[in-house]
Symmetry: C2
Subunit: 285 residues, 2 copies
């Protein structure tokens, strides 16, 4: 049956429905074979030709929530990162946090004087060299001299189906050229959705590292995040939208941060419920 | 009285109301002192603190239409260029036409292979050298070897108050760098609205020529257009919106093109009316 069915993605393009894709997305959320079977069987009763991927997604999420809430939260990851919006600021903080957990030092939203004008740089990141561990935390220039200093532009999209494109790559690269002499060695462009193939081609040629939701395979946002269970609090089903916004406004972005005993910006009941779910999602009981 | 009154511009900023500005905008539309007096006097009865510039503009236009229609059309110039939208394509064609009337050769929407990727370039322009006058019209590369070849990015805004900003300058410059080795010598960014001061600063420093509605003083879009009466057909009050779209779709962009006896895409009555108005606007009776 599945051979005849097409799904319509968020960009409005048709592609064949593949059970294998559903199974691997469930596997990434750590759903075992039994769960996977139940879900693909359930889907068979719901599919029709041209069904939007978001409807398929909602069906899966709905069933997962009934079966096992923590599984639903993990499955919800890409959508949850989108819920960090509408502005790009929480995503910048989120990605800086992801990098920190991989041993990078970061500074967000710093103003860097370029050759022509001053630029606000989303994230400056570097790996600290043991010889300069004593350098002041904010003295990026000093640190940059001893390790690779990276300028990172974050391109956050609040809507599915919107891809980062060549223009994003071009302006990021020109900005890098302008500040390069200020000690920068690398330039990355990070997006929470997809990158067009033109952007990827330009990045590879110009020396701009493009990181999108599922590219490059060994350093994609999905891999970086799921590998270390860096789920944002927006995955949590037990939190209301308002409570999510309160937490983000208080700079609590990751599920693991919610487990810090100092968190006190939510009513106690809501907090305990969210903390219990967070423990299940990131697997620390 | 005028000292106490502020106007609110399209970007939502307040600035003092200045009769002199109204007078000079009327003078640019070739309104003599008597017309100017009548209009500033009329405005005095309508002004209040915080009045939006678009309300002031509408008052002036309304009165001008009653007093002298051809004057109203010339006064309407900036708004008329905005009406070339909603897409940027007619503006690209319009600006290419403006350049042609200053002796440039142009090709619009050409695909140029860069070092990394292929780019669609809004306008490629050059001044033909008499020695290569016999070169084929479309062989830009050949022509470009003998005169300065210019890559032009057009940034059209359909709404007032939107300014072209540093990002536009950055991506344009990076695109230029990618195709530069294909024989390009200059890079221009042309916009129908204002450019931010940051974009102008970046342009001056990086060697990107920024041309906006009123910058630079000796090569602004306003100057280029009004100096040679290159009014677009959208200035004409006698044309309906639908008829304007029909003409644009038929590549008739300038008022003077309407006077070409071969134009036949409008009903005869409407065409004669529009041609009469066009003659008054561009002053050829």
């Amino acid at each position: 049956m599945s051979a005849q069915i097409r799904v319509m993605n968020a960009a409005g393009e048709y592609e064949p429905y593949e059970e294998e894709k559903v199974r691997s997305s469930l596997a990434r959320a750590e759903a075992d074979g039994v769960f996977q079977d139940r879900i693909v069987e359930h889907l068979r009763t719901k599919l029709y030709d041209g069904i939007p991927t978001k409807v398929v997604y909602k069906e899966i999420l709905h069933l997962l929530k009934k079966l096992k809430s923590s599984l639903a939260s993990r499955y919800h990851l890409k959508q949850a990162i989108m819920e960090l919006g509408p502005t790009g600021f929480p995503f910048e903080k989120y990605f800086a946090g992801v990098l920190e957990s991989y041993g990078y030092k970061t500074v967000t939203n710093d103003y860097i004087r370029g050759k022509c004008v001053t630029h606000e740089i989303d994230i400056v990141a570097w790996k600290e060299d043991c010889h300069v561990a004593a350098a002041p935390r904010n003295d990026i220039a000093a640190l940059g001299m001893t390790s690779s200093k990276i300028m990172i532009e974050c391109k956050f999209h609040h809507e599915p189906g919107v891809r980062s494109d060549i223009k994003d790559g071009l302006y990021t690269y020109a900005r890098f050229l302008d500040i390069k002499e200020n000690g920068f060695d690398e330039i990355w462009l990070v997006t929470n959705t997809k990158a067009t193939s033109e952007l990827v081609a330009y990045g590879n040629c110009a020396g701009l590292k493009v990181i999108s939701w599922n590219y490059p395979e060994d350093f994609s946002l999905r891999l970086l995040v799921s590998q270390k269970k860096l789920h944002p609090i927006t995955v949590l089903n037990s939190l209301s939208s308002v409570d999510k916004q309160i937490l983000l406004a208080n700079n609590i972005v990751f599920c693991y941060e919610l487990l810090n005993p100092k968190v006190n910006c939510l009513p106690k009941d809501a907090l305990i419920k969210a903390q219990n779910e967070a423990r299940l999602v990131i697997g620390t009981n």
